[in-house]
């Protein structure tokens, strides 16, 4: 009989298995293909050629990258989930569910009852590649990551939805001295949360669960996380032998009906397919010929610091350090800017250790020739490093970069810096930073991203970028986020694109991402006339060339592009006034010690995960905090209208002025309720209902409801509601009121007064996805608060039918509700007036936080309001000042009530010199694609800064700090308070 061959070609590996008639496994192999999909598949078959020559075989291909090979070679194909199910049914028949993690796919198959399969959507990263990427970040292999995880003590919350988000959670942990062991385990936990939360979509994961795929075969630490999270015992958690090859085995099992062919024929077909290359989507080459590359490189070699003989120099020097997200940079300069000593290296997950060694080298280099007069530090790790080594000055990155850029091009009017993890662009007007654009967590196609790919494809980053320079057919990989890029690369590989074309394509993707997504520029003139590009990523000539090509203009790239932050810091150190020279001396460095200990702050409900760093046994630095309380500061801080509003809303629970005789009404506090609760609370208590409000949002509450979330790309505020409703049911409330609100209050400010589709209809989604709601009376009826008179009539009929409330009583309660709501709004406005007056009397800046009402929820804004207060800013909200300008027509359709408020608030801020605005945007909020551009237009038209913060379930505030500090620094510069 013919031998059955299953070939599973996944996104990163090729698996080949041979089965005999009795389905006994004769042979198996598991090989990484490094994007040479077809070649490696053929190669793997040649390994068994001796054994099979002259025999008939029945082959079947499966796997996400197998489809293309199957088409080209005319060997039959079976979808991999289907194949896996076949294998499980054969070998482990009483299975209830399978969890399979592959390179880029995560799948769950439910057996028992109806068979259901789930695959991760296009925006989901909890997979093997994600683990690889995270391991790279920690500078370990995936197996070493596993070793680390086994020794963990605590788990940090890490965003699990997408690799990019997770990365921005992990980076600060590393930079703040978090233990690698704990971070490793937290990464695995994130994968578990993503799989369980993202894929079960309401179906329970119970019974006997089989774990499959490479990562779950090799990584004990990951297995442990799954077993612990799902509370499985040894009997119910099955890790079968050959779990990494199950899909291939399944394919071999599915060969019934496939025509047999001689082995030689199969090999021939695959080999011929391997030679085929059909590229459909390519871009123009970076360079046509070698001479062009040379001319280009010569031109850029000119922008370089003043030459200095570093080994002979005697005298004063200034030190700048840039503790970036993935790399640490250091520059020691002479008073006129010559570089005496520099360092650029990966921080290998521990910037303190790296810098300690480098500072020791530096002192050895200086000897008694050179005296370090002052030092400054910038970057993600600024606070930690400043405290560790007693640096004189800490400065925000944007300012450091501008200082450096100005040194090379005094007329600079636009700077773009692409580093490992983030991208910063700023315009310079009249010698001040005028507008700052930072990439969002979701668009960070930056330097570390190319690096991760180069490693995955088996290349060193330096060679990898050079490979693409002379490629004539760069692959068009699109310009979206890393997760999408993974599958674009996969597709290109499938189509046979070479490493050269992928290298060039990746570089061009970074460029397009920067220009179109981050900067949102349509032409070179949107940027500026004197553009300076910097950051380690621009040392990659392919990126530099791509950038010039795309904007059609020559730019300045200093030869020290990777050191610009450190260089700018050194320049600032040189120019600083006040006490300097505090940097630890050589002797102190000799005795330096550092320990980091995780901790949780219990001062408020934020429960910040703290890392307590201790240096030399007595100097402490605490990181991870939002406010100054854990550092010994007082509670309270600056006036904060978000906190004021939140506290007012939270107490709207209980019987109010009524007697509660009509029973209890449970209200989940989320989305539209943050706006409407003052209305409904008054309404219900007036009717003698007792209102039971769901508790404060927390991560734990979110996780409680996570399993019933059907769409993983909906915004975090919406996802939170599942937990709130779960809690109300647990609390024994028998009636839950959460009405659909297609319309908001009609404030007469825009063209219409809608809510967004999610706010409007989420109650209906909860009804059909949370089966426990069937146990209670759940009211998700439609009410229109925009038509008060009609509401009296319509609600009257509704509450008469539902609760037997006389219509007249309902009508009166409706009127009382409107009055209470108006009172609530007015009190907030009055409070804001007091805050503004206070700010003006004390010469403080006022920050208007413009978002949606539910952004005052501390779990949703992650305590960002406290952070703002800690910078000495007085905080008011958009809905407390929007009434101060008259209605005006906008160029876009101004049809959402919350948008109209934001536009008006921005228009008001534009007239107030001491006010700045910060817009909060939830990840996944499609409507804000419209509002953000409009807000930017309103503010920038009057010379104001526009700052946006995108928030999600990530709790790291690192990028938020940079934005807020940049905003303050830029505003100071505009006011002439600080001379740069």
């Amino acid at each position: 009989m013919a031998i059955k061959i299953g070939i599973d070609i996944g996104s990163t590996t090729v698996k080949v298995v041979l089965l005999d008639d009795n389905n006994t496994l004769l042979y198996r192999s598991y090989t990484r293909h490094y994007s040479k999909v077809r070649e490696v598949a053929a190669e793997q078959l040649r390994v068994v050629a001796d054994r099979l020559r002259g025999q008939d075989v029945v082959p079947l291909i499966t796997g996400s990258a197998g489809l293309g090979v199957s088409k080209a070679s005319e060997v039959a194909f079976v979808q991999e989930v289907f194949a896996t199910a076949a294998a499980v049914n054969t070998y482990i028949p009483d299975t209830d569910a399978v969890i399979e993690l592959g390179g880029e796919d995560a799948k769950i198959i439910f057996f028992g009852g109806t068979l259901e399969e789930r695959m991760n959507g296009s925006c989901a990263g909890g997979t093997g590649s994600f683990i690889d990427q995270m391991a790279t970040l920690l500078d370990v292999s995936a197996l070493e990551l596993n070793e680390l995880a086994l020794r963990h003590e605590k788990i940090y919350p890490i965003a699990s939805r997408c690799g990019v988000f997770a990365k921005s959670d992990i980076q600060p942990l590393l930079n703040q001295g978090g233990r690698k062991e704990d971070i490793a385990a937290s990464i695995f936990q994130a994968v578990v949360d993503q799989t369980v939360g993202g894929l079960t979509q309401g179906r329970e994961l119970t019974g006997k669960i089989v774990f499959l795929g490479g990562p779950l075969t090799f990584l004990q630490g990951l297995r442990d996380r799954f077993v612990e999270t799902l509370e499985l015992d040894a009997e119910h958690a099955v890790f079968p032998e050959n779990a990494d090859c199950f899909a291939a085995i399944g394919a071999a099992l599915c060969t019934g009906g496939v025509e047999a062919m001689p082995f030689g024929e199969l090999l021939r077909r695959l080999e011929e397919a391997a030679d085929e290359s059909g590229l459909t989507d390519t871009l123009p080459p970076l360079f046509a010929k070698k001479a062009d590359v040379e001319a280009f490189q010569a031109r850029h070699a000119k922008a370089t610091p003043e030459p200095v003989d570093a080994n002979a120099y005697r005298g004063d020097a200034y030190l700048g350090i840039d503790a970036g997200s993935t790399t640490t940079k250091m520059a020691l300069i002479t008073p006129d800017g010559g570089i005496l000593y520099s360092y650029y290296g990966s921080n290998k997950g521990n910037p303190v250790t790296i810098l300690l060694a480098e500072l020791r080298n530096l002192y050895a280099f200086c000897g008694d020739r050179i005296t370090i007069r002052a030092s400054a530090v910038t970057g993600y790790g600024e606070d930690l490093i400043k405290s560790a080594f007693s640096i004189d000055l800490g400065l925000v990155e944007t300012i450091a970069h501008y200082r450096a850029a100005r040194h090379f091009n005094p007329d600079v009017d636009f700077i773009i810096d692409i580093g490992g993890q983030d991208m910063k662009c700023f315009k310079i007007r009249n010698g001040a930073v005028d507008s700052i654009l930072l990439n969002e967590a979701c668009s960070s196609g930056c330097g570390s991203f190319i690096e991760t790919f180069s490693k995955a494809l088996g290349h060193d980053i330096a060679d990898f970028s050079q490979l693409g320079l002379l490629d004539q057919t760069p692959t068009n990989l699109g310009s979206r986020c890393t997760v999408f890029m993974n599958s674009s690369v996969k597709q290109a590989q499938k189509e046979g694109a070479g490493v050269e074309s992928i290298s060039a394509g990746l570089s061009l993707s970074v460029v397009k991402n920067a220009i179109y997504k981050v900067i949102r520029a349509a032409s070179a003139d949107d940027l500026g006339k004197h553009i300076v590009v910097q950051g380690g990523t621009f040392l990659n000539d392919a990126v530099l060339r791509g950038f010039e090509q795309e904007i059609g203009r020559e730019v300045t790239r200093p030869t020290i592009a990777g050191l610009m932050g450190a260089y700018g810091a050194a320049l600032s150190a040189r120019d600083m006034t006040g006490e300097t020279g505090r940097l630890l001396d050589a002797a102190a460095l000799g005795n330096f010690s550092h320990t980091a200990r995780p901790s949780v702050c219990n001062a408020c409900t934020n429960r910040c995960s703290l890392t307590i760093n201790t240096f030399d046994g007595d100097r402490r630095f605490i990181s991870g905090n939002r406010c100054s309380v854990p550092l010994g500061g007082a509670k309270g801080g600056e006036p904060n209208l978000m906190r004021y509003k939140y506290e007012k809303i939270r107490v709207m629970t209980g019987k109010g002025a009524g007697d509660g005789s009509r029973g209890k009404i449970g209200i989940p506090l989320g989305l539209n309720m943050y706006e409407n609760l003052p209305f409904w609370f008054e309404f219900f208590t007036k009717l003698n209902f007792e209102v039971v409000l769901s508790p404060e949002s927390t991560r734990a509450l979110y996780q409680k409801g996570q399993r019933s979330i059907p769409s993983d790309t909906v915004c975090y505020p919406a996802k939170m509601l599942h937990g709130h409703v779960e809690h109300l049911i647990d609390a024994g409330v028998d009636t839950i009121f959460y009405p659909c609100m297609a319309y908001n209050f009609d404030e007469g400010k825009g063209d219409n007064h809608y809510n967004c589709p999610v706010v409007a209809y989420y109650p209906e989604l909860l009804r059909v996805n949370m089966s426990r709601l069937q146990q209670v009376r759940y009211i998700d009826a439609y009410f229109g608060l925009h038509r008060p008179k009609d509401l009296e009539r319509i609600a009257g009929a509704f509450f008469a039918a539902e609760f037997g409330v006389p219509a007249r009583e309902t009508a009166a309660a409706i009127r009382a509700g409107y009055a209470a709501y108006e009172r609530f709004r007015q009190e907030a406005r009055d409070e804001a007036d007091r805050y503004i007056q206070y700010a003006r009397e004390h010469g403080k800046r006022i920050l208007v936080v413009a978002g949606r009402p539910y952004h005052i929820d501390p779990e949703i804004n992650h305590g960002l309001d406290e952070l703002i207060g800690s910078y000495g800013l007085v905080l008011v909200t958009e809905d407390s000042i929007d009434h101060l300008v008259p209605k005006a027509k906008r160029k876009i359709l101004n049809q959402w009530t919350y948008h109209a408020r934001m536009y008006d608030a921005a228009r008001y801020v534009a007239t107030q010199p001491d006010m700045q605005l910060l817009q909060l945007v939830s990840f996944g909020c499609g409507l804000d694609a419209i509002s953000t551009d409009e807000m930017r237009d309103i503010l920038e038209a009057t010379g104001k800064l526009y700052t946006q913060i995108k928030i999600d379930d990530i709790s790291n505030l690192g990028t938020v700090k940079i934005r807020i500090r940049s905003l303050i620094a830029a505003a100071d510069a505009l006011d002439g308070k600080v001379m740069l």
Binding site: S488, A742, V768
Partner: protein
């Protein structure tokens, strides 16, 4: 170039003078129906060009001029229009852009404004943009929807749905390749010629003509066994436009399936019905409600002609009426769920399942807000209520790769083949 005049809010108007000189560029969505629409506009004296371009440059242009988080249809449509303007094929002083606009709480109602922003960004703000809508938004002196045009466009839409419905059932099985599309082309010609003489618009005429269309499609020689029927529902643009869904219908055909795509008429009825339900839920003008009911009755009547015509040929699968779809959605969503495709999307899935099409692709742009609820949000209940249902949701996006989408569809097809 005509003289540029603006309304009180600074919106560039399409003037009578422009009507004489300018060519209207119009993005493609539903090939059969839109090609008829184009011809009907030409009968009104407009010069119209339907953009059938599909290359990657459209997406690149879209990314350049539209906020990248905006939904994919806006990015494509605006990209397609600007790319056409920049192609050098047209005198940029003699073109106007033509775009349909829906009202309502979905961001789709802002496409036209985003298009104007994009034009501004591209330095093309002298090109007027015309909104085609049912809400009376944005009037233009040089463009008006008169009763005659309505009485041509609405029947044309229903004819279009009929042709698409029948053609989808013939194409996978046709013996002579291309016979189905050829017949569809013949009929669009004949229908337009009829409209030019004001024929084919009344219900009486439509019954006759539609029965004839059904008979002619029934006469196409077909072969082979019944293929798996796959329903396609979703956000209106990515559901219909091949540019938006990476040629989903072709892919399904190549996989040996028969695509079943609910038509445009239900969407129009849905939008009219929303106005009536709004008044039921929140109160409002009695007269407005009455007018909407009359319009609904008119369009539903035309739809009934189509349903009856399909019935005359037993070899074809039939169609449900709007009222039946609406009744089916009870217990899932309220009739107030009107943003985007609202309850209609769920209703179409239920109707497909009822008619035996249990395998469904639900398409949406990545991050589509209404579909969180009415698409993805309803699938669990559908699975509970109809265990045989096999629905895959596919997100479309400039960065989403075809391989990823096709792999997920293949998973759904593998389950379909197994007859879950």
């Amino acid at each position: 170039m005509a003289k540029l005049t603006y309304d009180a809010h600074g919106r560039l108007l399409f003037t009578k003078e422009m009507k004489e000189e300018y060519t209207l560029l119009m993005p493609q969505m539903l090939p059969v129906t839109f090609s008829m629409m184009k011809r009907l506009l030409e009968l009104e004296g407009y010069k119209v060009e339907l953009l059938d371009t599909t290359h990657r440059g459209i997406i690149e242009t879209g990314l350049k001029y539209v906020h990248n988080d905006t939904c994919y249809p806006a990015l494509l449509v605006i990209g397609q229009l600007i790319e056409a303007i920049n192609s050098g094929k047209y005198d940029t002083n003699k073109i106007a852009l033509f775009m349909s606009q829906t009202g309502g709480g979905c961001r789709a109602s802002n496409y036209i404004h985003l298009l104007r922003k994009a034009l501004q960004k591209a330095g093309l703000q002298h090109i007027p943009v015309i909104s085609l809508n049912l809400s009376g938004m944005e009037k233009n002196p040089g463009f008006s929807i008169n009763l005659r045009l309505v009485r041509r466009l609405v029947p044309a839409m229903v004819y279009g749905d009929l042709i698409v419905h029948l053609a989808n059932q013939c194409r996978p099985y046709e013996v002579e390749r291309g016979a189905t599309d050829a017949l569809a082309a013949v009929w669009t010609e004949r229908l337009v010629a009829g409209f030019a003489k004001n024929r084919g618009r009344s219900k009486r005429e439509m019954r006759v003509i539609m029965a004839q269309i059904a008979a002619e499609f029934a006469a196409i020689e077909l072969s082979g066994e019944q293929k798996t029927r796959i329903g396609v529902v979703g956000e209106i643009y990515v559901k219909f436009a091949p540019l938006g869904n990476n040629n989903l219908e072709d892919f399904l055909l190549s996989e040996g399936c028969e695509p079943v795509v609910p038509g445009l008429t239900d969407f129009m009825l849905f939008k009219i019905d929303n106005r009536i339900e709004d008044i039921n839920l929140y109160g409002g003008s009695w007269l407005k409600k009455k007018l909407c009911q009359v319009f609904l009755w008119y369009v539903a009547g035309l739809q009934q002609c189509m349903i009856d015509a399909v019935k005359t040929q037993p070899k074809f699968h039939g169609l449900a009426s709007f009222a039946e779809i609406k009744a089916g959605v009870k217990g899932y969503l309220g009739y107030g769920n009107k943003m985007g495709e609202g309850w209609l999307l769920t209703g179409e899935m239920i109707e497909l399942i009822h008619s035996g099409v249990t395998n469904i692709v639900c398409t949406q742009p990545f991050g589509c807000l209404p579909n969180h609820v009415s698409g993805k949000g309803m699938i669990r209940k559908l699975k509970d209520d109809f265990p045989a249902s096999n629905i895959v949701t596919i997100d479309y996006d400039p960065g989403a790769t075809r391989i990823n989408q096709e792999n997920r569809i293949k998973l759904m097809l593998a389950s379909a083949g197994r007859g879950v």
